[in-house]
């Protein structure tokens, strides 16, 4: 027994030494490398784009290697904070466009304004994305790709209900939904499944009616959801939602994912990113189509939330010029076209095609460019407001006023 214990201890000590030296030696050999943080979406969605960028980079900088480390959306910011504290940040990092402002304001990124001309199509960058990468007039983030929101629908159910073409106005969509409801009476069926607290969709109504979430006035942020236009938008959202969706008024757009509801046959339409078409279930793939969500003004599309990512170079990186160069290779025209082929919106208007996704991006809105915007999101202020409105616990006006003052409080923090 003792001998066995001794052998076990010795073995594991040896393992420990091996582990230590293995990791140490690997790090020492790769002195000439840059570290890039991309989200997992790139690893599963477009690994060829990453490979192309790496090849180009290594051709331009012989002797250098690229270490791409894939991150999760859930904890990549905590990891980034830890590296900021320790001073070992990556050389390139992908940030969600709503995450940028806080870090730009804190001085986390290198100023890329002088290098803007070197990035492909930079004079035509999508306004929504480009804005998210700018602070104080300087460029800190390079637009990577975007996604808009579209309506994914069952062509067969629409045909059966007598709907011959995609609705071109909100009121028409509403009457179409009534036709769909009449023809599909099963329990839990939604003509259009929308999660109650899907603020990305709900705020589109606010912007469609001319309102906005917040604005600056004399250097301070003011919540503007209680303006007459915003309230009109929220009221329109409430009546639309109540008529078309049987989702829980307090649930978010991830639990359950709308495409799950769709694939069970419990929705004839869902609203969300265009890649929803991937997961509609074997039965419905061939009878699924997409159209642009209409505005309340006939003939126009509703302003859609332009989600997307930017690429930035942390200021404490030791390889800033190389990082910027990698970004240049990654966002080249050829690569952006590859991203477009995978269903994303490329980063420049000159590259835009005619897919439903891209047409939906014609009118878009974006979150206020405030340092503490992320805190508004994290505090679920908009979600709570929507839950109160849809459950009827508060009137639209009350809920909007509460949310506005909360937003102002959060955004005006030092």
């Amino acid at each position: 027994m003792r001998l066995r214990v001794f052998v076990a201890v010795a073995l594991t000590a040896a393992l420990g030494v091996v582990a230590a030296t293995a990791s140490a030696s690997v790090d020492r050999h790769q002195a000439n490398k840059i570290t890039v943080w991309l989200q997992v979406d790139a690893q599963s969605g477009w690994p060829d784009v990453v490979a192309a960028a790496n090849t180009q980079f290594q051709a331009d900088h012989p002797g250098y290697s690229v270490d791409v480390q894939y991150q999760n959306w859930g904890d990549h910011l905590q990891k980034f904070d830890a590296t900021l504290a320790a001073g070992n940040t990556p050389d390139v990092i992908e940030m969600g466009n709503t995450e940028m402002t806080k870090y730009m304001a804190a001085g986390a990124f290198a100023d890329l304004t002088s290098l803007k001309g070197t990035f492909a199509n930079s004079s035509n960058w999508l306004a929504g994305l480009a804005k998210s990468g700018m602070y104080g007039g300087k460029v800190y983030g390079v637009p990577y790709y975007a996604g808009s929101r579209v309506v994914t629908y069952r062509t067969d159910l629409f045909k059966k209900a007598g709907i011959t073409k995609a609705p071109t106005s909100l009121s028409q969509f509403l009457s179409d939904a009534k036709l769909l409801a009449a023809k599909n009476k099963q329990k839990g069926f939604s003509p259009v499944y929308i999660a109650g607290t899907d603020w990305y969709f709900a705020m589109s109504f606010v912007y469609d009616f001319g309102g906005q979430i917040a604005a600056t006035s004399h250097g301070k942020w003011v919540g503007t959801l209680d303006s007459p236009q915003a309230i009109a938008g929220l009221t329109a959202y409430k009546s639309f939602w109540k008529a078309v969706s049987k989702a829980s008024p307090t649930t978010d757009e991830n639990t359950p994912p709308p495409y799950n509801v769709y694939s069970q046959g419990l929705a004839s339409a869902i609203v969300g990113p265009s890649w929803f078409s991937c997961c509609t279930g074997k039965t419905f793939t061939s009878i699924t189509g997409q159209f642009v969500m209409p505005s309340h003004v006939a003939g126009k599309s509703i302003p859609g939330f332009l989600g997307g990512s930017d690429l930035a170079v942390p200021a404490s990186s030791g390889n800033k010029a190389l990082g910027a160069d990698w970004i240049k290779d990654f966002t080249s025209t050829a690569n952006e076209k590859l991203l477009q082929a995978k269903g994303n919106i490329p980063n420049a208007t000159s590259l835009l095609g005619n897919s439903v996704n891209e047409r939906a991006a014609a009118r878009s809105w974006f979150v206020p460019a405030a340092k503490h915007w992320v805190d508004v999101e994290n505090g679920n202020i908009l979600r709570n407001m929507l839950a109160q409105i849809l459950t009827g616990k508060q009137s639209v006006k009350q809920a909007a006023e509460n949310a506005s003052s909360n937003i102002a409080l959060v955004l005006n923090q030092p």
């Binding site: 027994m1 003792r2 214990v5 076990a8 201890v9 594991t12 000590a13 393992l15 420990g16 091996v18 582990a19 230590a20 293995a22 990791s23 140490a24 790090d27 570290t35 989200q39 997992v40 979406d41 690893q43 599963s44 969605g45 270490d67 480390q69 894939y70 991150q71 999760n72 959306w73 859930g74 904890d75 905590q78 990891k79 904070d81 830890a82 590296t83 504290a85 320790a86 001073g87 070992n88 994912p257 495409y259 799950n260 694939s263 069970q264 419990l266 890649w275 991937c278 997961c279 279930g281 074997k282 039965t283």
Partner: protein, 289 residues
Amino acid sequence: MNAVAVPVRRRPRRRRRGGRAGWNIVAIVLFAVMVFPVFWMISSAFKPTDQINSFTPTWFSRHPTVSHFTTAVHTPYFWTDVKNTLIIVSVTVTVSIALAFLAAVALAKYRFTGRKLFIVLVIGIQMLPGAGLIIPLYVTLASYHLVNTLTGVIVTYMTIVLPFSVWTLRGFILGIPKELEEAAMVDGSTRLGAFVRILLPLVAPGLVATSVFAFIQAWNEYLYARIILASQGKQTITVWLSYFLGTSRSTDWGALMAGSTLTAIPAVVFFLIVQRRIAFGLTAGAVRG
């Protein structure tokens, strides 16, 4: 030292056999309820994707598939991460138990100034919220150049496992009857010799029991591993699992459940191997507190 011949009784016999049937039924129902989520995980791993997402649950799929397991195993870095986790956990557990044992001996057997302080330290560290220490710990590891290394994770895990282990092993050592120690003294052997010959085997079950607790804690740990290990080639299996959930697109539930099932296996195997020892270990030691 010869064993005294004493009739071996494993456990006190309970009286009536008849009343057992009722308890057996209760136990089986309890088993079904407790194990249900685990069953759900394993059965889902074998279901085709549309059945996983279905609104009417399927208990046992009529067309079980191993495609999710194939996907999981072929997901990049699966075997690498398994290897990393095994290295980290085995080194952590072995070194921690060894060091904790030494400290536990000191606490149980010696009177020395600072003993109370040491106990307070051991207990106090366990009371700190782990989340609060993440960034200062990361900064410290960075200064030692231990970020993104297995060693960095090992030493971090040791600080998590050590306090608990010292505390538990102290209890086991306190439980050893002094008659056996005194018997060793008579031999004229040195204290250390007596200790090694008599006490180590006696406390071995306790060591095993504590090792299992430590193993499971280290195996399942996610937060620190996620923060410290950056390259996918160095990560642990819990981090590998998290990638299935971290994307902004749809989650491959089947692969996640298959991956989770695979991840749970080593812990179960380890426990089943040592579980007989545990019953003895806890019996002999912990009760004596």
